[in-house]
Point group: C2
Chain length 216, copies 2
């Protein structure tokens, strides 16, 4: 019986070793957090609070930033299933409803991404002193884009993403202060002063994220 | 007796609140780890393993990198107390001893740095999913330089440092895989094939880190 037992131990060990290699993963479907976005070619710097619901394909973004030395504030409710974005201003009690032609992009490591390295930010010498993360890279042929992204090993949480094309130059997104779950489900409900029944103006279709931020 | 007890509780609470504000700190004096260094203006990218001894003012660096599309490997033993740097090649069994006129710069947050923000990389929602860090900025008037640096809250370990002057442009150092302590004390002893008694050639004084790397 020794040989079968040893063999099965070997199989278990082999399975463990295979399992230890990081694999592309999906972030938790419900998250709140913060994000900074640096886009040098567009002379744009944005700091955002986000509420993210991958189940309902909904994102709420409260962004403040600078573009070409002009500062802006945007409060966006993006409902991808309905193909609608609301631009909300509590100060002015105004709300603009626009059609949105953008696919919902879940926060995840694409399946065809390549693991570059696994590293510890800080140290594993003491508790609370380090964070085990994986660095990935990949390409998006249809956008002629490359990306480099870092996610935590435990929890599959995003840390940073560097996206680069010849056209855009590099765009760096850095995530932090993430909590798993949604603290306020009302974030996804348009405020009372939004006329949700109003038909959208199809001449103002929002097709990318920067456009949504800039249309203020 | 209620009032004095309440007051003393208030003082204890106040002291705790004051103590909770992060203060500039020194990294542990003994560390090993890795470092990547990006210096776009010098067209230089370096990946290093380091052994760091702030007590003995000694650094061992094994660096591989690219400068102006030319790749290089350097093994440097920097003894700041003696003002000497050894350039070591095990492959060729050669060793060059050069004088070094550089102050030892301990890994620390300068006392006059300003706290920008305290953030969590990843999340505090689950164990092993996040890292509490502090972002600092400051100036070095004598170098007309600005710096932005991130250290862990617990352990005071370096994560990254962005140094910028008009002359150099920006230089980004990213630290990772740090262990507290020295795994091999022999890292600081020149190998047998180094002639430590040989006087140094004072015409080859090394005055900065990049010079030490480039003199190969």
């Amino acid at each position: 019986m020794h040989v079968p037992i040893s063999l099965s131990v070997c199989f278990v060990l082999a399975a463990t070793v295979v399992a230890q290699k990081p694999h592309p993963c999906k972030s938790p479907p419900l998250m709140v957090g913060r994000l900074s976005l640096i886009y040098p070619k567009g002379e744009m710097f944005v700091y955002e609070r986000f509420t993210y619901d991958a189940l309902g394909k909904r994102i709420r973004l409260r962004a403040q930033g600078v573009e070409h030395n002009h500062s802006f504030y945007e409060d966006l409710l993006m409902l991808f299933r309905e193909g609608v974005v609301y631009q909300i201003s509590y100060k002015n009690q105004t709300c603009t409803k626009k059609p949105m032609d953008m696919p919902f992009q879940p926060i995840e490591i694409p399946q065809d991404a390549t693991l570059q390295s696994q590293i510890i930010l800080g140290s594993s010498s003491g508790p609370g002193q380090g964070l085990l993360v994986n660095n990935w890279m990949g390409e998006i042929p249809e956008q002629k884009a490359k990306f480099y992204t870092t996610f935590t090993e435990f929890g599959c949480l995003p840390l940073s993403s560097l996206y680069t094309t010849d056209e855009t130059g590099w765009i760096l997104s850095s995530f932090f202060d993430i909590l798993i779950g949604i603290d306020d489900p009302q974030d996804f409900i348009p405020p009372d002063f939004c006329d949700t029944t109003k038909p959208v103006d199809n001449e103002l279709v929002v097709t990318d994220f920067f456009e949504a931020l800039k249309n203020n």
